[in-house]
Amino acid sequence: MQDPQKHISLSTHNLTVGYAQKGTKIPIVSNISLDLQAGALIGLIGINGSGKSTLLRTLASIQEPLSGTISIQETIIKELTPNERAKQVSVVLTNQAISKNLSVTELVSLGRQPYINWLDALDTTNLEIVQDAMTATSCAAYQNKKCYELSDGQLQRVLIARALAQDTPIILLDEPLSHLDLHHKAAILKLLKRIAQEQQKTILFSTHDIELVLPLCDNLLVLKEGHCTTGSPQELIAQKAFDTLFPSEHISFDAETARFSIDK
């Protein structure tokens, strides 16, 4: 089910993200102009404090942009109602105080909220979508368990299933690979890649596992010193974007192997 002309699902124009404190604006990343395509898996990288989470939270409308605009399917995001927005963008966040007393099915079902009435009851169609989301992320096997019984890797799948159930063309993930071992990192990454391709979704995720994601990502956003650079992994390697990603005293990047090494 390939879309012949890949359309732009998420774009920003001169977007500046950061915090407003007592009326003064503290920008973290400025003048971001992006066009993210449907069906693309996009990695967001940058050192700690470079603004990855702030950018994701701004794109998800959890916080306000300092200036500039964000458009979804060519509609400016501010013109959408909260509920319309919820049908366009879903998120997977880390370190949220979610109730672990929710069962897996209950948690995934919450993804259907934008589509149902105030009574919050699901009909068969909605239940099927929930079931499909759990099957696609292979968490149907433990769907009746409570979240406090799950491992970190299982919980991450459940949170991704919830975002899938929300059925949005855009999914934003904040460090979905953190706290996972190599096996589970690879599994989640391949899952995201598959979802992006099969369901033609735009998936943007932040990560510190640069070497791991380079071969799988269609595009990367690199945040460095308040600026945002974009390109395919190959383009960015050619531009030597990774050579200067970290302060040079400890780490260097080898373009041949696409790997970082610690300077001895």
């Binding site: 109602t81 909260p82 049908k87 929710l102 919450l110 105030w118």
Partner: protein, 327 residues
């Protein structure tokens, strides 16, 4: 079923025992075998049982609302300072009126207490709601509520220090809480407030479920946090505020019943939790009221002591048995 059983038991039991048959006759409009029973049932026990049912349900629901809104298992109906506001209002009325030279006789009726409690809790809530419109962080709101509570408690202490023994006793008796002594008119007003509060809680169902994932997730699910938060706070104020105004600060029910229900019902969906908690609260407070009235005796124990005496061991037992706080 349990609710119906407790409700009828509470009509039967008291300082005099009235047989079930006579209760049914009286409620259906007949005359019981002793004429005095008709008065006891219709003007004392029935309003008392209704008050206990409604108050228990209302307090338990407001406890659930606060625990979900603040994502904190220690939250209860009074974390926003509702009961401390009410206490302050009553303290001013009872303790400070003589000092201010107002004759207590003129304003000492039950209605005066109710009005004072309402004004007190309303003022505190007004402060909290104003704060809630300004702060973004829900946790900050919880701390503000606690601070306002400490502030009013301190003011009550100062008032208590300067007041006479009998005034102090009157204040302490109010603070014990009581679901008795409500006129039918008062029961009507209480019911109205609780029904409106319950409707607002039901309207917030979807937001409550979304809040189980935290504020950030709720926002991305299309929930307008500030609006929902305000709605939940108003619902809580109506529920807990009206009960406190008419029956005094009844502790424990609001904190414990949601935990009890979560241990018994394997769901976090508020569509199931909300009615279950309401029922649980009603049953528990009715039971406590039956125990507090000490059947067949002249005594009437403070209901506030009984709720904790009965409830706390149950909660502790459940937690130890399951070895885990489900929240």
């Amino acid at each position: 079923m349990a609710l119906l059983f407790c409700f009828i038991a509470s009509l039967m039991l008291g300082s005099v025992h009235i047989p079930l048959q006579d209760i049914v006759t009286t409620l259906t409009g007949g005359t019981p075998s002793k004429p005095s029973w008709e008065y006891i049932i219709l003007d004392y026990r029935l309003p008392k049982a209704i008050t206990a049912t409604i108050s228990g349900g209302a307090l338990a629901v407001s406890g659930l609302l606060m625990q979900t809104l603040f994502r904190n298992p220690l939250a209860g109906p009074f974390v926003l300072g509702i009961s401390s506001g009410a206490s302050f209002g009553v303290a001013i009325l009872i303790l400070a009126s003589s000092a201010l030279g107002i004759s207590l006789g003129a304003i000492s009726g039950n209605w005066a207490l109710t009005i004072a409690a309402s004004i007190g809790s309303f003022l505190v809530l007004l402060m909290v709601i104003t704060a809630s419109a300004r702060v973004r962080d829900t946790m900050a709101l919880l701390i503000i509520g606690l601070m306002v509570g400490s502030l009013t408690a301190a003011l009550v202490s100062v008032l208590a220090y300067f007041s006479k023994a009998e005034e102090l006793q009157r204040y302490i008796f109010w603070s014990f809480g009581s679901v008795g002594n409500l006129s039918w008119q008062a029961v009507g007003i209480l019911t109205l407030c609780v029904v409106i509060g319950a409707v607002l809680a039901v309207v917030s169902l979807k937001a409550l479920n979304a809040l189980l994932l935290g504020d950030a997730y709720a926002r991305t699910l299309g929930i307008q946090i500030k609006k929902s938060r305000l709605l939940i706070i108003i619902a809580t104020s109506l529920l807990a505020g009206s009960v406190t105004a008419f029956a005094g600060p009844i502790a424990f029910i609001g904190l414990a019943v949601p935990h009890l229900v979560r241990q018994l019902i394997p769901s976090s969906n508020h569509r199931i939790l909300l009615p279950a908690v309401m029922l649980g609260g009603a049953v528990l407070l009715l039971l406590c009221d039956i125990i507090a009235s000490v059947p067949y005796s002249e005594y009437m124990l403070p209901i506030n002591a009984i709720t904790a005496l009965v409830g706390a061991p149950v909660v502790i037992w459940l937690l130890i048995r399951k070895k885990k706080l489900i929240f």
